[in-house]
């Protein structure tokens, strides 16, 4: 169904080697994300998921490989080209406690992208847009002048999402955005992602170590092991007929085999989906 749509992100032969380490943190990683598609990247801790995300976002310079967003090369981009690339690519981090500057108000945090990209130069317009964004992620306009510390983890992650969406990115890179949240809150935030994706036609790179989470949200799944992608394919293919033994191991390690439990879990997601 997405086969014919245009490729948005193309990662080719990405390698990241940190000085003083024997094996590359990211070793010859290649994949594509089409417009409107969500790719789930799963793998155990330390397998190089975050490093991949950072390289794509142009936050660290990889040892080798290419990253293209549309027709533009991210890694060889000039300073100004990188800035406009960053407008098209926004990130949400794992820990909403450390990823929001504690000394800034919600209005400043969410409005920062608008400000630095000159999208809403006037204060009033920026404020209106921030209120709109907060509403989109389910936060009241009264949050504007508050600081992150007065919000719960789930609410903070909503702020982080609103901040990322402010500049209307084409690609949203989420690095384990729900793994630091309680399960019930996880479901709410996941449903928010699902809603926003349909509403805004977002493409997403969604990193997780929880296979159930990826299954719920993603069209395509890539499985990573010690820096390499060992299996990549559609959700149904990877979950239904895993080809690589590591994928099978991962699937076996998750308490998914118990069907009632899994059904219950999916039900929680759906129930809270209705409430968002």
């Amino acid at each position: 169904m997405t086969g014919r749509s245009e490729v948005l992100l193309e990662v080719d032969g990405l390698v990241q080697r940190y000085p003083g380490t024997r094996n590359a943190a990211v070793d010859d990683v290649s994949f594509q994300i089409r417009i409107g598609e969500t790719l789930g990247l799963v793998g155990e801790s330390g397998c190089g998921k975050s490093t991949t995300a950072r390289c794509i976002a142009g936050l660290t310079r990889p040892t080798g490989g290419t990253v293209r967003l549309g027709t533009r090369d991210v890694l060889s981009a000039s300073r100004s080209a990188l800035k406009s690339l960053r407008r098209d690519m926004q990130m949400v981090f794992q820990d909403p406690y450390s990823s929001l500057n504690p000394r800034m108000t919600v209005a400043d945090l969410v409005g920062e992208g608008l400000l630095v990209h000159g999208l809403r130069p006037e204060r009033r317009a920026r404020r209106d847009r921030v209120v709109e964004l907060l509403d989109m992620v389910g936060l009241p306009a009264s949050s504007l002048e508050r600081r992150p510390r007065s919000f719960s983890g789930g609410q903070r992650q909503r702020i982080a999402i609103a901040r990322a969406l402010a500049v209307e990115p084409r690609l949203l890179i989420c690095d384990e955005p729900v793994s630091s949240l309680d399960v019930s809150v996880q479901a709410q935030v996941l449903n928010l992602f699902k809603k926003l994706r349909t509403q805004l036609g977002l493409s997403m790179l969604f990193i997780a170590h929880d296979l159930a989470v990826v299954r719920y949200l993603c069209d395509q799944v890539a499985v990573m092991q010690s820096g390499r992608i060992v299996e990549i394919g559609s959700r149904d293919q990877v979950y239904g007929a895993p080809r690589h033994h590591y994928t099978r191991e991962l699937l076996a390690a998750v308490p998914v085999p118990d069907p009632p439990v899994e059904r219950e879990r999916m039900r929680t997601f759906r129930i809270s989906e209705e409430s968002t």
Binding site: R54, A57, L59, K83, R86, R87, M89, Q90, M91, F93, D95, S98, S99, L100, N101, P102, R103, E112, G113, V116, H117, R147, R149, A160, R163, A164, V167
Partner: protein, 353 residues
């Protein structure tokens, strides 16, 4: 909020009381007999005894302390045997000039230390970091009076671009309003005199601040490194913010909180360090007053100066606490958390009885 301030004020009073005790003990223990000093160098034994009685020095120590504390609370710091004035009025006379020097030193401290600390953190491990750290270390390693002499030698004696000593050039006059020469010149609207006073201030301020810069630069560097490594910095970059905004708006604003604590303490220390600088540069001030006091065995003048420095130190720290409270809401004690023990702790006691 009010509780926090009241608590800090309480601490302030306690520390001040401690300061008074130390000052009193100094007056008892330190060499130099105040009775003899008051009676004069050529006084007879009877005259000295009479002076001792007049000063209450023949009474028990505890009573002497009571009198001493009461006098201090009334602002009576004793009389200087050298100037024959009350120590308090002497200090009032010289303190503004020292404050002026400390403010100038503080400005130099900030202007050099903060950017250097930020630069060192930003380029950590690179040559710029090494050079910056070496630079401040050399500054800190030089004794202030020696650095003062070197500065005089280079900038006044050799290059002749800055005045050697004093507060104003010959023939330049400023009416005393506050006692701080630069400020008085400004208040008078006498701009040439202001420039002249400023020129006289530069070298002593550098000599005074050199040893303080290292501490601030190091604090800024380390808290800046913590800030620069945090997720919100990476995220700010990912959002597309320029480096300047990332470093200053996101990084520095968080990194300045620990530095401001140090700066508050340095304000008091700097006032003490004027002892090492003012005489070298022949400036009026608390430091020079203290040096004279020590040389003249003028006990009350010395103790009064020390008390003044202590009080300034306490007040500066209190002010920093308030500023931090205002800048950083995170430090505000949360009502909820502080209320919890109050509610729960009486409960088990009630259950037992």
């Amino acid at each position: 909020m009010v509780r926090f301030i009241t608590r800090r004020l309480g601490q302030l009073v306690i520390v001040f009381a401690g300061l008074v005790v130390v000052a009193f003990l100094m007056s008892v223990i330190l060499p130099g007999d105040p009775g003899r000093a008051a009676a004069g160098r050529n006084a007879t034994v009877a005259q000295v005894a009479e002076a001792r009685h007049r000063l209450g020095l023949d009474r028990p120590l505890l009573m002497q302390f009571g009198h001493y504390a009461a006098r201090i609370l009334h602002g009576d710091l004793g009389t200087s045997v050298f100037t024959h004035q009350s120590v308090l009025s002497d200090i009032r006379q010289v303190l503004p000039s020292s404050v002026e020097l400390v403010v100038a030193g503080m400005i130099i401290n900030l202007v050099i230390a903060v950017p250097l600390g930020v630069l060192a953190a930003y380029r950590r491990g690179r040559p710029a970091d090494v050079v910056a750290r070496l630079f401040v270390l050399v500054g800190a390693a030089m004794p202030a009076f020696w650095l003062g002499l070197m500065l005089q030698l280079i900038f006044a004696d050799q290059l002749k671009i800055l005045p050697l000593s004093g507060q104003l050039s010959f023939g330049v006059d400023v009416r005393r309003i506050t006692g701080a020469t630069t400020l008085d010149a400004l208040l008078e609207g006498n701009f040439p005199a202001f420039g002249d006073a400023l020129k006289h201030l530069i070298l002593p301020a550098i000599a005074l601040s050199a040893s303080f810069i290292a501490v601030v630069a190091r604090t800024v560097r380390s808290s800046m490194i913590t800030a620069l490594d945090s997720d919100y910095i990476v995220l700010a970059r990912a959002t597309g913010a320029k480096e300047w905004r990332v470093v200053v708006r996101h990084g520095l604003r968080n990194a300045l909180v620990p530095a401001s604590t140090i700066l508050g303490m340095q304000l008091g220390w700097m006032l003490g360090a004027t002892v090492l600088v003012e005489s070298t540069f022949n400036r009026t001030g608390l430091g020079a007053y203290m040096v004279t006091g020590v040389l003249q065995n003028d006990l009350y003048a010395v103790i009064g100066s020390i008390l003044t420095i202590g009080v300034v130190f306490l007040l500066a720290n209190f002010a920093v606490d308030l500023i931090q409270l205002w800048l950083n809401p995170r430090l505000r004690p949360r009502r909820r958390t502080s209320a919890v023990p109050l509610v729960t702790s009486p409960a088990p006691a009630g259950g037992v009885s």
